[in-house]
Symmetry: C2
Subunit: 190 residues, 2 copies
């Protein structure tokens, strides 16, 4: 994981290990049950006490944030890659579709976290800002190419993707996701 980060007081080996084990268990739980995970189950699956879980992640949100850090990093990287791989509009579209895929996979909690504003300076907050920034570059590129309306902002698009995911979440039928996505894409073109 990406917890090789420098810390003022380095963690003890056992603490570091537990931290990672908890994260693994969390990701597994989220992939299976979505955002409404039971913290005690996660602790048990990770083989640690509930107290240990709460010490590392005082808040449910902090736990989920940590679990999604990788996704934020990944999405940022994908944006960078797409910038050089595809034409402006195609790159933007591809990245937005990725946002939906990642969001849907994490049962929308991911999307919710990606769009949320976090306490300044957090690792995840920085990762999210970077991700948004990379997306903004894609957007601006398409706008400069004259293919996307200039009054659209990156947050609009992220929230729309997020909205599509959660609006379709409890629907057994996912077949309308693509049409909805197409509507949004058509709506941002010049």
């Amino acid at each position: 994981m990406n917890e090789t980060v420098v810390r003022k007081v380095p963690r003890r080996a056992d603490a570091q290990h537990n931290y990672e084990v908890i994260l693994v268990a969390t990701r597994a739980a989220v992939a299976e049950h979505g955002g409404d995970i039971v913290l005690e189950d996660i602790a048990r699956n990770a083989g640690v006490g509930i107290g240990t879980l709460y010490r590392h992640f005082p808040t449910r949100l902090e736990l989920l944030e940590a679990a999604y850090l990788d996704e934020a990093l990944e999405l940022r990287k994908r944006a960078d890659d797409l910038t050089t791989a595809l034409a402006p509009l195609d790159a933007l579209i591809a990245w937005l579709r990725l946002q939906m895929v990642f969001g849907a996979h994490g049962r929308s909690m991911g999307a919710a976290i990606m769009n949320a504003k976090h306490t300044e300076g957090t690792e995840i907050q920085i990762a999210c800002v970077n991700m948004r920034e990379a997306g903004a570059v894609l957007l601006r590129r398409a706008q400069d190419a004259g293919e996307v309306r200039s009054d659209v902002e990156i947050v609009d698009l992220l929230r729309l993707m997020h909205g599509i995911v959660i609006a379709n979440e409890q629907a057994p039928d996912q077949s309308r996701v693509t049409p909805m996505f197409d509507v949004v894409i058509a709506g941002i073109r010049t």
Copy 2:
């Protein structure tokens, strides 16, 4: 309220009264705290026991559904009114905007319920179907006038409105709602 409906076995007077009082308390609570209401609080505010609440509304969902019945009826009526009052595209746009207003007011639970599929034959289910139907008429009218793409369905639009509302829900800044709405509208035009 609209509980003057015929019942095979008419309710006793006290039961009918409690039913209505509970609904009033529920609407107040939802307007204030959104979907995450505390059922015991509602019962207390309504001046009834928790058991009484559960007898009338065995499920949290059923309670919320009942509380939103009025909105569904209202939205259906508005659709009918708009059909005769405005030009096809304008009418559709106005109605979609209403969907957002209603949804945002009810803290998005409303939108969630409106879009949800319910157990067949429920009063709210019928009301929702009627509302969707009325919206579909507006949409078809705009499509027949050649102003809206023919591959768009009414559920797409309802879900997109719903998505916009909840995606912006926790954002302190609601200023991006209109731009997002505009993107969608631009996206459905021919």
